[in-house]
C-alpha cells in the first residue's frame, strides 16, 4: 500500500469516526473527543490537498491555523463541560438541552 492511498483512507476514516461519534455519543467529554478526531481528519485533508496542489506551505499553514482554533475550542468546551457538570450534576447532552421549554 503506497502512502498516497493511505492518506485518503485515513482522512475518510477520521472524519467518519468523528461524525459517527458526534451522532451517537451523549457524554459531553466524549463529544469533545469526537470533535477533536473529526478536526484531525479535516487537518490531514488540508495538508494532503496542499501537497497534491504543490503548495505544501499553504496546506501546512492552514493546518497550523486550525490547530490553534481547535485547541481553543477544546479548552473552552472542556471548561464548559466542567461548569455544566457542577450546575446540572450530569454530562448527558439530552438532560442539559434547555433551549426548548
Amino acid at each position: 500500500m503506497t502512502t498516497i492511498s493511505i492518506v485518503p483512507i485515513a482522512i475518510i476514516g477520521l472524519l467518519g469516526i468523528g461524525l459517527y461519534a458526534l451522532l451517537v455519543v451523549r457524554n459531553l467529554i466524549k463529544v469533545i473527543v469526537a470533535l477533536q478526531i473529526l478536526v484531525k481528519g479535516a487537518m490531514l485533508a488540508m495538508v494532503a490537498a496542499g501537497s497534491i496542489a504543490g503548495k505544501t506551505e499553504v496546506g501546512a499553514s492552514m493546518a497550523l491555523t486550525v490547530i490553534v482554533a481547535d485547541t481553543i475550542v477544546a479548552v473552552v468546551g472542556l471548561a464548559l463541560a466542567v461548569q455544566i457538570r457542577r450546575h446540572f450534576g450530569t454530562l448527558d447532552v439530552r438532560a442539559i438541552s434547555t433551549l426548548r421549554r
Binding site: L22, L23, V24, R26, R94, S97, L99, R100
Partner: protein, 584 residues
C-alpha cells in the same frame, strides 16, 4: 487645510462623544460643557469648509483601504458641504438647547455621546465619495437614531418606536447596498463620481434595479411613502433629538441620496415619475394626518414627512437646486419649530394639544418664535419657506405632470390649514388646563433666537448657494441665479400668486371653521382614516405578526439536541457534495 477641516468636522463630534462618555454621569456640568464645546467646534469647522468647495480635485481626502475597495475618499462638493453645515450647525444648536431641556436627566453621557456620534456620522455620510463608506455612515445614523429614539428605555413606547425606526431604515439600507454592489460589479469602482459619469455603461436592468434600490433607500430614510410610519413614532425621543432627526441629520440623508445620484438615474424609464409620485403621496397623506393629530410633536412629525415629500418631488422634477434650497429652509424652520415645541413641552409637561391653549400669554418667547416657524412652514412671504416652496412648485410645474402639481398645490393649502390649527390650539384661544407653565430658559433662547433669525433670512443665500452647487456639481446642470433674480422670478410668476391664494384659502378655512362645520361631515371619514394612518399601521402590524408566527414555527427546527444538529450538518454536507458532483 481642506483635508484638516474635513477630518475635524467628522472626528471632532466623535472625539466629543468619547470624552462625554468618559466624563461619567456623576459630572453633568462637565458633560454639558464638553458636548456644547465639541459640537460648536464642529459647527465652526463646517462653516469654514463652505468657502473651500471649488476646485474639488485638490480637496480630496483619501484614506487607503486596501486594494479591493479603492480609496476611502472624501470630496467636499457643494451638496456635501452644505449638508455638513446644516448637520453641524443645527446639531450644535440642538445640543445648546439640550443643556436646559435635559438638565437633571439621568444618563446624560449616553444621550450626548449618541447625539455627537449622530452629527459626526451625518457629516461623514454627506462628505464621502465612496459608496461603501457611505453605506457604513448610513447605518451609523440608523443606529444613532435608534439609540436616541429609545433614549427613555424604560418606556415601552420609546423602545418600540426605536425598533421600528431601526427595522424600516434597515430595509432602505439594503437598497443602498444593492445599488452600490451593482455599481461595483459593473464599473469596478465604488466612487460616486465614477458611478455618475459611467452609469450609462451599466446594462438597463442593472441600472433600473440600482435606481429603484436607491429610491427605496431614500424613501425609508426620509420617511416617505410607503415607509412614513416610523417618523411619527420617533416622537418618543427627547425633543432636541427630534429636532436633530427631523432637521439636521437622518431624514435629510434620503433627499441627499436622490439629489446626489439624480444624474445617473434621470433617464431610467419611470424613475423620475416614481420619485414624484412618492413625494406627492407622502406630502398629501402626511398633511391629512397632521390635520387629524392632537399630539403637538406628531403634528410636526407629519409636517416633516409632508415637506420632505416636496423635496423628493422637486428632485423627481429635476429641480435639484429647488429641493436642496427647500431642504435648507426646512432644516432651519423645522429645527425652530421643534425646539420651540420642546420649550412648550418642557414648560408644561405634556404634548397633548387638547390640554394646551392660551399659552401665548404665559410663554411669549416660545409663541413668538413658534409663530415665525409656523409661518415659514405654511409658506407665507417673506420667510424662507415661502421662497423655497415656490421654487419647488415652479420646478414641478415646469418639468412634471400637471396633475401632480395640482395635488402639491392643494397640499400647500392643507399645510397652511394644519399649521394654523396647531398654532391656535397651542397658543391662542381659551386655556384648556390650569397647569403651571414657564417660558423658555436661557440656553433654550440661545438656540431659538439664531434659528428664528435664520428663518427670516436664509432665503437671501439663494444666489451664493446656487453658485456653489453650480461650481462643484458639473453633472447636475444647475443654473446659477443671483438672489435678486430668484426673487424676481418668483415674484413675477403667476404660479406664485396661485400658490399664495391656495395658502390663503387654507388660512381662511381655519378662520371660518365654524361655518365650514356643515361641510366637515363627509370629511369625517377622511379624518378617521387619517387617524388610523390610512391603514399603514395595520400593514406594519400584519408584517410583524406574520414574521413572528413564522419564527415561532421555525422553533421546531431547534431541538436543542446535539445529535440532531449533527444530522443537520451531515445533511448539509451531503447536499453540497451532491451539488458539486452534479455540477462537475
Amino acid at each position: 487645510m481642506i483635508q484638516t477641516l474635513i477630518l475635524l468636522v467628522i472626528c471632532l463630534p466623535w472625539l466629543g462623544a468619547l470624552l462625554v462618555w468618559w466624563a461619567g454621569d456623576s459630572r453633568p456640568r462637565l458633560q454639558h460643557g464638553l458636548a456644547v464645546v465639541f459640537s460648536a467646534a464642529a459647527g465652526v469647522a463646517a462653516i469654514a469648509l463652505i468657502p473651500n468647495t471649488v476646485g474639488k480635485e485638490a480637496a480630496r481626502l483619501p484614506l487607503p483601504a486596501g486594494g479591493v475597495f479603492g480609496w476611502f475618499s472624501f470630496t467636499p462638493d457643494g451638496l456635501g458641504v452644505f449638508l455638513t453645515a446644516v448637520a453641524a450647525v443645527i446639531g450644535c444648536l440642538a445640543v445648546v438647547f439640550s443643556v436646559d431641556y435635559m438638565r437633571g436627566e439621568a444618563q446624560l453621557g449616553r444621550y450626548y455621546a449618541f447625539v455627537l456620534l449622530f452629527i459626526g456620522s451625518m457629516t461623514g455620510l454627506v462628505l464621502t465619495s465612496n459608496m461603501l463608506l457611505m453605506f457604513v455612515f448610513w447605518e451609523m445614523t440608523a443606529l444613532c437614531s435608534y439609540a436616541l429614539i429609545s433614549f427613555y428605555n424604560d418606556d415601552p413606547k420609546a423602545v418600540a418606536g426605536g425598533m421600528k425606526a431601526l427595522i424600516i431604515t434597515q430595509v432602505g439600507g439594503v437598497g443602498l447596498l444593492l445599488g452600490a454592489i451593482l455599481g461595483f460589479a459593473y464599473l469596478g469602482s465604488l466612487n460616486v463620481d465614477d458611478f455618475l459619469q459611467r452609469a450609462h455603461l451599466l446594462p438597463t436592468t442593472a441600472l433600473t434595479v440600482a435606481a429603484f434600490g436607491f429610491l427605496i433607500a431614500a424613501a425609508a430614510k426620509s420617511a416617505q411613502f410607503p415607509f412614513q410610519t416610523w417618523l411619527p413614532d420617533a416622537m418618543e425621543a427627547p425633543t432636541p433629538c427630534s429636532a436633530l432627526i427631523h432637521a439636521a441629520t437622518m431624514v435629510n440623508a434620503g433627499v441627499y441620496l436622490l439629489a446626489r445620484f439624480y444624474p445617473a438615474f434621470e433617464n431610467v424609464p419611470y424613475w423620475r415619475l416614481s420619485v414624484m409620485v412618492v413625494g406627492m403621496l407622502s406630502a398629501l397623506l402626511a398633511a391629512l394626518m397632521a390635520l387629524a393629530a392632537t399630539d403637538l410633536k406628531r403634528v410636526l412629525a407629519y409636517s416633516t414627512v409632508s415637506q420632505l415629500g416636496y423635496m423628493v418631488y422637486a428632485v423627481g422634477a429635476g429641480g435639484i437646486f429647488a429641493s436642496q434650497f427647500h431642504l435648507l429652509s426646512h432644516s432651519v424652520f423645522k429645527a425652530l419649530l421643534f425646539l420651540a415645541a420642546g420649550a412648550v413641552i418642557h414648560g408644561l409637561g405634556t404634548r397633548d394639544m387638547l390640554q394646551m391653549g392660551g399659552l401665548g400669554k404665559k410663554m411669549p418667547v416660545a409663541r413668538a418664535v413658534f409663530v415665525i416657524g409656523a409661518a415659514a412652514l405654511a409658506g407665507l412671504p417673506i420667510l424662507n419657506g415661502f421662497w423655497s416652496k415656490e421654487l419647488v412648485l415652479e420646478a414641478g410645474l415646469e418639468h412634471g405632470p400637471a396633475w401632480i402639481y395640482a395635488v402639491m398645490l392643494f397640499v400647500a393649502g392643507l399645510t397652511a390649514l394644519y399649521t394654523f390649527r396647531c398654532v391656535w390650539m397651542v397658543f391662542y384661544g381659551a386655556p384648556r388646563s390650569t397647569a403651571h407653565a414657564h417660558d423658555a430658559g436661557g440656553f433654550m433662547r440661545a438656540a431659538l433666537y439664531p434659528l428664528a433669525f435664520g428663518t427670516l433670512t436664509t432665503w437671501l443665500l439663494a444666489g451664493p448657494f446656487s453658485q456653489m452647487l453650480h461650481d462643484s456639481l458639473p453633472q447636475h446642470s444647475i443654473h446659477t441665479e443671483s438672489t435678486g433674480e430668484v426673487a424676481l422670478v418668483i415674484l413675477t410668476a403667476p404660479a406664485t400668486y396661485l400658490a399664495l391664494a391656495v395658502v390663503g384659502l387654507g388660512l381662511l378655512a381655519w378662520w371660518q371653521r365654524e361655518r365650514l362645520a356643515l361641510l366637515s361631515e363627509p370629511l369625517q371619514d377622511v379624518i378617521g382614516l387619517a387617524r388610523n394612518s390610512f391603514g399603514f399601521e395595520a400593514i406594519n402590524r400584519g408584517i410583524v405578526s406574520g414574521v413572528q408566527s413564522w419564527a415561532e414555527n421555525l422553533r421546531d427546527v431547534q431541538t436543542g439536541l446535539l445529535n440532531w444538529n449533527i444530522v443537520g450538518i451531515l445533511a448539509g454536507l451531503i447536499t453540497v457534495l451532491v451539488i458539486v458532483a452534479l455540477g462537475a
